[in-house]
Symmetry: C2
C-alpha cells in the first residue's frame, strides 16, 4: 500500500514548479524547499534552476527513484504527466490541477475518466485531482498553495483532518492553528478519483501520530464501504464527521459543488451512529469535538461535576448537562466534607458546586482535588470567570495540575476578553480544553462520552 509515500516520501518531484512567485507551482516548491528534508526535483521545461534547486525537463528525465510527485500543470497536459509517473513507478501522485469532472462539462468528465484509467491496475495511487493535497506536520510534506501570510502557521498535533472541500479545510485549519490546536496530517482529496475516505481512514487508523480524525464529507463514493471502515476505525480512534448536503437545498448545492450524491441524510446519520462515528452537527461542533478528543482521556460514565465561581454559569451548565443527556453527579460524602472546609458556612454543597464570586485558587484546588478522587464523578467541568477580583492566575496551574493526573476528563468554560484570553491560552497549552460557553462545553463532553461508550 503506497499511501505511506504520500506522507513520508524520501524524494518528491514537483511538476509545474515555477519561478513565477504567483503560481501554484512556485508556492508548492517553496514549501518543500523551506522545510522538507528529503530530495526535491523541480520539473520545468524552460528553467534551469528555481530557488537554488536544479530543474528537470520532465519526470522521465529524472534518473533517481522518486517516491512522490506533485502535479500543478494545466489540465490539458496533467494526464500525460501522470502517465509518465506511472511509467517511472512513482507510487504517490498528488494531482493539484483542476478542470476535471468538477467543472461539469463533457471535457472535464472525459479527462477524469482517462485519469482513472491511467492508474488502474498499477502501483500508482492518486490524491486529487482538483485538491489542496497534503500537509504532514512531521515530515513537512506540504502541497497547500495558499499565501502563507493569509493563514496562521501550522501547528503540529494529533488531529488528522480529511476533507472533500479544500476551501472548507483551509478555513478550519486556519482556525485550529490560531487557537494552538495542532494537526498530524491533513488531506484534501478533491474529486477522489482514486484515494478516497476509506483508504485514508484505514491509513490513519495505523498512524501513530494521529489520536483522532475529523472528516468533512458531502457524499461518499460507496456508503457501505465507508461505514464498514468507520466501524473498524472507531473501535480505536474517534472519528468526527461533519456531513453537508443534509437538506434538499444543501443536496442540490452539493451536486453542483463536487458532483456528490449527498443521499438521504437520515439514513447516513443512522449509519454513522451504527458505525460508532461521532457526528458534528455544525462546524462549531467539529472544532470543539476535535479539541476535546485531542486532549482528554475516555469518559467512563455520564456523571458530570460542575464547579463554578458564577452561580448563573452553574445553572446554565446544569441545563446544558441535561440537554446533552449527561447527568449531574451525586457528590460523595467525603467530597462534601472536603468542600465544606473551604466554603462559607451558608453555601449549599450541591452539584453544581458554587464556589461563589469571591472564590480564589485555593478554593478551586480543594474542590477539584476532592472531585478528582470522587468515584461518583466521571468528568469535571470547571467554570472560571476570570473577571472577579479574587480569582488569580494561579488557578491555571491548579486546573492543569488536576488535569495532568489524567484519570478523568477535565474541561473548562471561560468567557471574556483579552485578560481571560491569556489565561485560556495558558490552560490550553497545558492540555486543558477551554470552551467559551456552557452549551459548547457540555456538548463537547457529550461527544467524548458518546465515543467512550461506543468503544
Amino acid at each position: 500500500m503506497a499511501l505511506e509515500k504520500f506522507f513520508s516520501p524520501n524524494s518528491v518531484a514537483i511538476v509545474g514548479a515555477s519561478a513565477d512567485t504567483k503560481k501554484v507551482g512556485h508556492v508548492i516548491l517553496k514549501n518543500f524547499a523551506e522545510r522538507y528534508t528529503g530530495r526535491i526535483y523541480p520539473v520545468n521545461l524552460q528553467e534551469k534552476e528555481i530557488l537554488g534547486l536544479k530543474c528537470h525537463p520532465s519526470v522521465s528525465s529524472i534518473r533517481d527513484k522518486i517516491d512522490m510527485a506533485v502535479i500543478a500543470v494545466p489540465p490539458a497536459v496533467a494526464n500525460s504527466v501522470v502517465k509518465e509517473c506511472v511509467e517511472k513507478k512513482i507510487e504517490a501522485v498528488v494531482v493539484i490541477t483542476a478542470g476535471y469532472k468538477e467543472i461539469g462539462t463533457a471535457e472535464g468528465v472525459l479527462r477524469e475518466n482517462e485519469l482513472e484509467k491511467i492508474v488502474e491496475g498499477t502501483k500508482t495511487r492518486i490524491v486529487g485531482p482538483n485538491c489542496l493535497g497534503i500537509l504532514d506536520t512531521e515530515t513537512n510534506v506540504d502541497t497547500m498553495f495558499l499565501p502563507e501570510y493569509k493563514m496562521d502557521k501550522a501547528v503540529a498535533g494529533n488531529i488528522a483532518l480529511i476533507s472533500q472541500s479544500g476551501a472548507f479545510a483551509s478555513a478550519l485549519l486556519d482556525w485550529f492553528f490560531s487557537e494552538g490546536i495542532g494537526i498530524s496530517k491533513f488531506v484534501s482529496y478533491g474529486n477522489r478519483t482514486d484515494v478516497d475516505e476509506p483508504d485514508l481512514l484505514e491509513f490513519l487508523l495505523h498512524d501513530k501520530k494521529t489520536k483522532c480524525i475529523v472528516m468533512y464529507i458531502e457524499g461518499p463514493k460507496d456508503g457501505r464501504e465507508l461505514m464498514a471502515t468507520l466501524k473498524k476505525v472507531t473501535k480505536q480512534k474517534p472519528v468526527v464527521v461533519l456531513k453537508s448536503g443534509k437538506s434538499t437545498a444543501g443536496i442540490k448545492a452539493a451536486a453542483s459543488h463536487t458532483g456528490s450524491l449527498a443521499g438521504s441524510y437520515p439514513v447516513f446519520r443512522g449509519m454513522l451512529r451504527q458505525a460508532g462515528a461521532v457526528e458534528a452537527e455544525t462546524l462549531d461542533d467539529a472544532f470543539d469535538y476535535a479539541k476535546i478528543f485531542s486532549t482528554q482521556p475516555a469518559m467512563k460514565g455520564k456523571r458530570v461535576a460542575i464547579v463554578t465561581n458564577g452561580g448563573g454559569y452553574g445553572i446554565l451548565c446544569a441545563d446544558a448537562c441535561t440537554e446533552e443527556c449527561l447527568e449531574l453527579a451525586e457528590l460523595s460524602d467525603r467530597t462534601k466534607r472536603e468542600i465544606k472546609k473551604v466554603l462559607p458556612s451558608y453555601s449549599s454543597l450541591h452539584n453544581p458546586v458554587d464556589l461563589i464570586g469571591d472564590a480564589n485558587a485555593d478554593r478551586y484546588r480543594a474542590t477539584l482535588d476532592a472531585l478528582a478522587l470522587d468515584p461518583e464523578v466521571d468528568a469535571i467541568v470547571v467554570v472560571s470567570l476570570f473577571q472577579t477580583s479574587s480569582l488569580g492566575p494561579e488557578v491555571v496551574d491548579v486546573i492543569s495540575g488536576i488535569s495532568r493526573t489524567r484519570k478523568k476528563p477535565v474541561v473548562v468554560c471561560a468567557t471574556g476578553g483579552a485578560y481571560t484570553g491569556t489565561l485560556v491560552k495558558n490552560l490550553e497549552e497545558s492540555g486543558v480544553p477551554v470552551f467559551k460557553t456552557p452549551n459548547r462545553t457540555l456538548k463537547a463532553l457529550r461527544a467524548l462520552y458518546t465515543h467512550s461508550r461506543n468503544r
Copy 2:
C-alpha cells in the same frame, strides 16, 4: 419615575468610599473620579479626602442635593444608610452590598424584608442589593467593581444588557467589548428588592441610545407583569432573552443561586414567544443575536441569498438556512444575467451562488450589487474565505458598501486565524456583523427575521 436618575444623575454619593485600593468602595469611587463629570461625594467616617475628593462623614451631612447614592458598606449598616438616603430624598440608590436573602439565612431574609419596607411608599428606588449595579457608557456612571485590568475597556454602543446575575454579565460584557460590540446601558440588579425587569424594560423602551435589549433571567418575580411589559417593548425594540433554570437540575441550581422560582420552562417559553421576545437558547445565541440586532435593519421576508468563494461553505449555509426555517431565494433573471457576466462559463447560477475558489473582490461586487437590487432577496449571507490567493482585502469595502445602503440585512460568515481576524475587525467596525460558522450566521439571521415578523 426616578429610574432616569440611575443613569444620568447630576450628583452621586458613594457611601463606603475607601482609601484602600483593594476595597469595592475604592474601585467604585475611582470609576467615578476618572470619568464621570457630575458632582461626586465620597462618604467615609474616617477619611478627610480620597483621590482628591473631600469626604463626608454621612449622607445626611451632605448639604447639596444628591441624585444617586451607591452603597458599598458592610451588610450590618447598609439598611440604615438607605434610610438616610430616603430622608435625604435621594431618588436612586444602588445597593452593592451583599448579605441579604441570597445567603439563605433567616438574618439575610429579615434584612432584605427590612430594606424593602424602608423604601415602600417613598420616592426612593433601589437597584440591588447584592449586585454589580450600573454602567452607562454615555454618562460614565459605573458602579462595577471588578479589577480594570481583568476586563476589556467598555465600548459605547446601542445594546442594553440587564442581568439577574452579576458574574454572568461581567463575562458577557467582557466578551462583547473584546469584539468591539458596544453597549448603551448595563444593569445588574441582583436580588431586585425594588427595581426589576419590567421597570428596566419600560425605561429602556424610551431610551434613545438603546436599539436592542439583552436580558439574562433565572426566574421572574411576576411572570404576567414581565410578559405584559415585553409585549409592549418588543413592538418597538427587539428583546433577546436568555433564560436559565430550564431543566430540573437547572431549576434546583437557580433556587440556591438567587432563590428564583424558575418555574416551568415550556410555559415560560410559550409566553416569551407570545410576547414577541426572541429567545436565545444558548449564551452563544445571546451574543450573536445582540450583534445582528445592533447593526442590521429589519428582515422583511425569509428569502436568503448566499454568496460564497467556497463551495463547501455554500452547502453548509444552505443546510443551516433550511434548519432555521428560512428559504433560499429564487434569484431573478436580472440577477442571474449580472452574475453570469463575472463567473466562468461552466458555473451554475443557483443560490447559493458559488463564486468559486479564485473569486476576487470584483466578482463579489458585481454579485452583491445585483442581489442588493433583487426584489426576491430579503437578506444576503456573504461567505468570505480570506485564505484564498485571489480574494484581497478590498472585498471588505465592497461588502460594507453594500451593507451601508441599509435596505436589507447583510451578514458575513468567515472562519480563520490572525489574517482573517484583522479583516473581520474591519468589517465589524463598518457595521457588518461577522459570524465564524455557517450555522451561527443563519441562526442569527433567523432571530432577526423572527423579530421583524413579530413586529
